[in-house]
Symmetry: C2
Subunit: 339 residues, 2 copies
Amino acid sequence: MPTIVEVAERAGVAVSTVSYALSGKRPVSDATRQRIQAAIDELGYHPNVLARGLATKRSQAISLFYPMAMQSRNLSTMQFEFFAGVTNVASQNGYGLLLWTTPQDEFQIKRLVQEGMSGGLILMEVKTQDPRVDLLRELGFPFALIGHTDDSADLHYVDVDFAEGIRLALRHLAELGHRHVAFINFEPILLDAGFGPAVRLLEGFETGLAETGICGYVSPGTGTADEAAATFQSLRSQHPDISAVIVANEIMAMGVSRLVYQIGLRIPDDLSVIVVASDTTAERLTPPLTNIVLPAETMGRIGAEMLIDQLEGREVRKKNVLLAAELTDHGSTRRVEHG
Amino acid sequence: MPTIVEVAERAGVAVSTVSYALSGKRPVSDATRQRIQAAIDELGYHPNVLARGLATKRSQAISLFYPMAMQSRNLSTMQFEFFAGVTNVASQNGYGLLLWTTPQDEFQIKRLVQEGMSGGLILMEVKTQDPRVDLLRELGFPFALIGHTDDSADLHYVDVDFAEGIRLALRHLAELGHRHVAFINFEPILLDAGFGPAVRLLEGFETGLAETGICGYVSPGTGTADEAAATFQSLRSQHPDISAVIVANEIMAMGVSRLVYQIGLRIPDDLSVIVVASDTTAERLTPPLTNIVLPAETMGRIGAEMLIDQLEGREVRKKNVLLAAELTDHGSTRRVEHG
DNA sequence: CTGTTAGCGCATTCAA
DNA sequence: TTGAATGCGCTAACAG
């Protein structure tokens, strides 16, 4: 495999000249630049990024700590969308993207930082209080969050306003005459751990109830479609007045849809359903579900851009991005009489 | 950030001794080993993988070229499952996983190889004739395939027997009395490009028709759910006898399901449906669909294992893995009278 | 505008 | 069982 030395010899110049021609950090005359380029092409030379990284103490790769959920069977299309956003931005900017599913404790983060392979880190599934964030802050390592902590005003993050999102949903349902609404949240473990969306959805649901006068039934979900279905069924048998349900993710929503289908009811005729999901995901379900918009691909994209901007020493274009809440109507809600 | 030199100083030994203590490639006395370990712990030392990679000319990271589809809006849960398999195995073995969505041409592959950041490569969406495979072979770079070419007997690959899978489906339908079956394949572009599953499903469908005497209607899909639905509807209006449909992926199947739901029919009462998908994906759909098993997570796992075995110089435990075809009944097919 | 050279942090050969 | 010294391929002073 050709090295920079061989390129230099072939072009009849010093190695540093080749290096500078490549990086553009020093002017190089057109004539020599062309000879160098010719040598590069003939040899099929590509710089060794390890050597470069060692010399510069920076790396053209970023790391993504993968959601815990990935290790379970509980794969969600939306996690994948976050992913697509991050990956595409990284590739477009010439960065490699490293994926990690190891436990994301303090030790692993320190390790990752010191290993030097990645120059920055993107964190997902952020908690309202998150020790990982504290550590990264302390280490001074570049990072960006998809999600945010309660004290992340000074950090680079992108998130969506979940609390307002679920309030939008409640107002929408209130206008349609619904008086009894169920909410299937993420599993209790996540809520207890302070997982942002779980906490903020619940908070928004409660303030939304107060605002709309709707009577709410909160039922923690359990992650899987089956368990969400079972949960909903028991809730519904206890409270037959429930005419609408809001579900925290599309996996659980699929469970509810399937249950409804199996017991012979129809959405929205017999039940209104709203899900927290991306538009693409929500509209692809059977039936399509009206959704509190979680623009996963966009969030991944913005997170990656924020991080790469930092790494490139550019002024970071955005920071602290809290996307406004939105509701997209896919026809899964319907007016009820009387309530 | 502590280096190996600092560890050596603190432990009062030579740098090489620390290195050997870490790698175990040379005996180190218990006493010094312990002093070294103490120094490592106190300093919070982690070896710099770039420096290590530069010195050894090997890297503890592998690369995955991401499916083209990822760059479109056409995200599939199953791609994600392949992914989860690969990622988890990599992490468990202490390997980083690098994701690339750049165009996967000859140039990019050469580049990736020479850059030295990854020690091996996993290729997905393999074509029956695939120039990327030829190049990698020629370069002598370690790689594994998820999918296979027509001449890959000597390669490391994992794939599933798609042709036999669709024949299983046809036999199953034949036993239930179906005489007119539609098949919605991957988009023509993929078929023309020689994309393995597209080619082999079609081939299996045709031999399966001959074997069962079923009358088949092949309609190329177009990737999206909407277009698959439209395609199926036109097929059905032209051939009202169609009582069952086989669909090449779950995205298109969702389109068909939704259409069926919208026009007021039921699965399987009015239409039998079989999809090529993983069990988890198929059973989560509304309604759950009987599936030709595509064990995506397992395939990702096996592919990564094969590659890492190679890299570690271990005897590769498996190679040339063509998983047997299977059909899982999720109740979306039903006996028809008369045919 | 270009050349010379000292590291970056580690593995490994050669000596002891 | 251990130490000293060389080099992996590249960048970035320093020198001209």
